[in-house]
Symmetry: C2
Subunit: 266 residues, 2 copies
């Protein structure tokens, strides 16, 4: 299994794409979020993926830096189904608000001859807090991260052999996620900026973490591998070096601060 | 007056951004369309613009390669108004369908504490076929291009000294546009591909033109300067050269096939 980061930035970035990624296991793919628009399609292409292989998609929440690329995926899928250039089915998972908004946007934006495939061969599936589904053949549990901004879900995937991969979405860890995040083999967590630059970027006012905070948390939770994402982009050339340097002081496992398009073996 | 192309591609491109541009006259700016997402913000930055200077925006139609970037502009404007970091007002013009969809999307996606600025300091203004408005201090007439796909408007701007700039949107010229397009000093028209490659790209099935078609048309209409945009991106490195070579055989005026971020003095 591996993960390819299509984007690694927060909502406001212009020097990288917004946080979204592909999990890959053999010929199966799970796309998580879509970033802020059709640059998703460029990132998929640049990473060597065929967008048609993204048969399972999960959307964490409705913020435009996560949902807009998925609105484009709906267009691509439905249009190609209509043109006879897309075989089989695809499924988009999300909580009730996400699925409702995706449907409404598709109906507003796309012609009926395309949206007729929604519910037919493109399935928009509501998942609930604590619900288990099989994604890429792995047992996956969705959970509400209890955001106070917009309702948001993370997920915990059983990787096999007792390992689990947990995605906490784009907000700091909340105690309610403990049973999922604790002892994860892989933890995906946001880090808005360096703790050293908290006075510049004000992460706490924005309800975000620093590299230090996320690393301390991962240490406490007994995590083996930590991936930091959803960062600012003001010094993206040195981001990997500086965030890694800061985080390593507080986390004894393997710390990853990926660039856009970076692939990591899980 | 000048124009900066933020994007020059059709809906499906991944090697450039979707067609959208900024008209600039002194300190005044008109943004026309937004492309497919937040790459609009990157393109504005790369072109040297401050997104806050885009105080007038016109949206031609609801297709996602045109409207999504404008949904992002609404976010940026309303969020910054809320934070006290945006002075004054801004206006988005569009026909009834565009304005209705923009409002509905904003209300679905953004919090009430941001959308409350819509109608207050961010004006979403419906324009009708043949309606005149003053944009950037220039008399501008909006017109229905009579699209059979999605309702779409172009516009014709009085540049002063008898010159006019006419934008035909992203579909081939229709006779109903004659009084606007004829004798334009500047004509903006789509060219999906080369006529030489019509058998590869099937422009006519997609209701699009070739570089040859648009150039012949501009010649017939007595146009002085022709800008071609909304192209495919399969050979973008040689696009300018090849499209210009083909078009020049049929158009005796000045032909422009801009790259993304190219600025042209009008
Ligand atoms: Zn986000
Ligand atoms: Zn278009």
């Amino acid at each position: 299994m591996n993960i390819t980061m299509l984007g690694t930035g927060n909502a406001m970035v212009t020097e990288c794409y917004n946080t979204c990624f592909v999990l890959e296991d053999g010929d199966k793919h799970l796309l998580v979020d879509g970033g802020g628009g059709n640059t998703l399609l460029r990132q998929l292409k640049q990473a060597g993926f065929d967008w048609k292989d993204m048969r399972e998609i999960f959307v964490t929440h409705k913020h435009v830096d996560h949902i807009m690329g998925v609105v484009w995926m709906i267009r691509m899928i439905c249009q190609n189904m209509k043109q006879g250039q897309y075989d089989g089915e695809a499924t988009i998972y999300g909580h009730e608000e996400v699925i409702r908004i995706l449907k409404e946007m598709a109906e507003m934006l796309y012609p009926a001859k395309q949206t007729c495939f929604i519910g037919d061969r493109l399935h928009l599936v509501v998942v609930n807090d604590g619900e288990e589904r099989e994604l890429m053949g792995h047992k996956t549990t969705f959970f509400d991260i209890q955001s106070t901004k917009a309702k948001q879900y993370g997920f915990c995937m059983d990787m096999g052999n007792g390992g689990k991969l947990t995605c906490c979405g784009d907000e700091p860890y909340n105690e309610c996620e403990k049973k999922y995040a604790e002892n994860s083999k892989w933890l995906l967590h946001e880090a808005f900026c360096l703790y050293d630059q908290a006075d510049v970027f004000h992460p706490y006012e924005k309800h975000h973490s620093t590299a230090k905070d996320a690393s301390e948390l991962a240490e406490q939770l007994g995590v083996q591998n930590l991936i930091l994402y959803h960062t600012e982009d003001k010094n993206i050339v040195r981001r990997k070096e500086l965030y890694t340097e800061e985080g390593k002081k507080y986390f004894s496992g393997n710390l990853y601060v990926p660039e856009d398009l970076e692939k990591i073996e899980l």
